[in-house]
Amino acid sequence: MKQVLGDRKSILILIGPALLVYTLVMLVPVVWSLGYTLFEGNAIVGFTFVGLDNFARMLTDARVHEALWFTIRYAVVITVGQVFFGYLLSLLYVFVLKKSSGIIRTLAFFPVVLPTVAVALMFQKMFEIAPQNGLVNEFLNLFGVESVDWFGSSGSAFLVIAIMDIWRSMGFYGVLLYAGLVDIPEDVLESARIDGASGWRLVQHIVLPLSLPVLLSSIIFSINGTLKVFDSILALTNGGPGTSTSPLTIYMFQTSFTYGEYGYGSSIAFLLTLLCLVVTLFIFRSSRRDLTKG
């Protein structure tokens, strides 16, 4: 039996195709991209070796700094927003709506499945000022507030991006955290209630510590996703006004395909990959330490 489950030929037939495609289309290109970072040029005009010039250029390129700073700011704000509102939703589901939360969960979840481009264009029209007011400005006018040119300054554009991405995904984190919250044993909650804990005190001292592991994994997932944000911002603001809402992903895309600088583009992609790797490892390690402590 061991022999059958360890049959080399069968193993090769089963995993071979997946491993081959994965290696050729993902692993090799990653290494290849690393190679590109040492060159200048593109597939059409050819490449010249420049050593570490691309990295030196990144150190002084104000646009890279801007994009890196935006990426980090975006990841932090959106992660906090998504997980915070998701957590509020999950508390609402578990402790207020209880058994009847199914339909609300389903309704709050659905923006997740909508195409990002479509959602972004919808928000673009909702926050529009010219040629005519969108929903939001019209609503503000009702209260006597003047229309705001939301996409005219980087601060308000960032706000719209944040609102959109939190709108899109809080239902998702609501369900994810809900799954963690319903796992808290009822008798633990009951005994805390008997001890006189209720409302926010119950959440603060019992629910929050017990749901810390699932909160942490939500944060990891969220950071991992938000660092790579591309389509929602591209479709909503196209990185503007100017370049003030361009994350590394969009800057990399423009460098590579608008300006045809493969080497520099790969260097930016490498910076992004490094960022993802460091953040993942960092959170993974700190979360493991916490778990062993508790």
């Binding site: 998702f172 991992n224 790579k228």
Partner: protein, 297 residues
């Protein structure tokens, strides 16, 4: 609405039930308001979008934004579908997404089986190699792939999309499939091999049927990921007639969107309500699947 609650026998150990009706109603009010607010915030934008898709340009410019359309005619949809090329873009999306889904699921399920059920040296290393693929941003593989597709003459077809989608979807598929196979008792496969079945046969005739629900779930999850993708589609579609629906919609906005509101709204609606219909019928499964695949972020 009130009589039934009044005459209903009070449940034991529920002191709230004995309070006067108004107090209970007041106590429930904040919850009702919160839930109502939540639903308005989540759903009203889509209602607004849908109503807008029936409006004429004149209505857009002259009526307030929350006005109802004067009539429900489908001119905007016809416009978007034909002049706006959405029909062509949707076809491209279907032609790229479904072959990729099929390939990814076949390879991913087989790999998941080999990694979880079968016993061999180095399988942990291979699983880890697949897992790191979930973390790598797409930008890290675009340029070499672009070069290769260009040099092999695949640019100008939908193959770059199919190949790239298959490969980028594999890590998550393998990971999820391995997880599902872990929950199938090993005895099942051991018993079938004792009965003399070849391991490949027990994969096809026992393994696959046992997790066909899981395969369907993963298929749904990956469908949403690929269907909604912009980065890969934008990189590898160099001509108008290859655009997927997302790239098409983005360009539609740039080309006609600033003047032709109705058709743009209709185009967004086609895109949105396509996925929404799937969600309406399969929402529980989609929720489970997407949260199980949340490692992707």
């Amino acid at each position: 609405m009130s009589t039934s609650t009044l005459t209903a026998p009070a449940r034991p150990q529920a002191p709230a039930q004995r309070r006067p009706r108004r107090a209970r109603w007041l106590k429930k009010l904040p919850t009702t308001i919160i839930v109502a607010l939540l639903l308005i915030v989540e759903i009203y934008p889509l209602v607004w979008l849908l109503l807008g898709s029936f409006k004429t340009n004149k209505e857009f410019l002259e009526e307030p934004v929350w006005s109802l359309p004067a009539s429900f005619n489908f001119d905007n949809y016809v416009d978007a579908w034909t002049t706006g090329n959405i029909a062509q873009y949707a076809t491209n999306s279907i032609l790229a997404v479904f072959p990729a889904l099929f390939l990814m699921l076949v390879m991913g399920t087989a790999a998941g089986f080999a990694l979880e059920v079968m016993v061999w040296k180095g399988r942990n290393g291979v699983l880890l190699a697949f897992l790191t693929g979930i973390m790598v941003p797409g930008q890290m593989i675009l340029l070499p792939l672009f070069t290769v597709y260009f040099q092999t003459g695949l640019t100008g077809t939908l193959w770059p999309l199919i190949i790239t989608y298959t490969a980028t979807g594999l890590p998550l598929t393998v990971f999820m499939m391995a997880t599902y196979f872990r929950s199938v008792p090993r005895e099942v496969f051991e018993a079938s091999t004792l009965d003399g079945a070849n391991i490949l046969r027990s994969f096809f005739s026992i393994g696959l049927p046992m997790i066909k629900n899981a395969i369907f779930t993963v298929a749904l999850v990956q469908f949403f990921f690929i269907w909604n993708d912009l980065l890969i589609a934008l990189t590898f579609t160099n001509s108008t007639d290859l655009r997927t629906i997302q790239v098409g919609l983005l360009n539609f906005n740039g080309e006609y969107g600033s003047t032709n509101y109705g058709p743009l709204f209709a185009a967004i609606c086609i895109n949105v309500f396509g996925t929404l219909v799937i969600y309406l019928f399969l929402n529980q499964r989609v929720q489970k699947g997407l949260t199980a695949g949340s490692v992707k972020g």
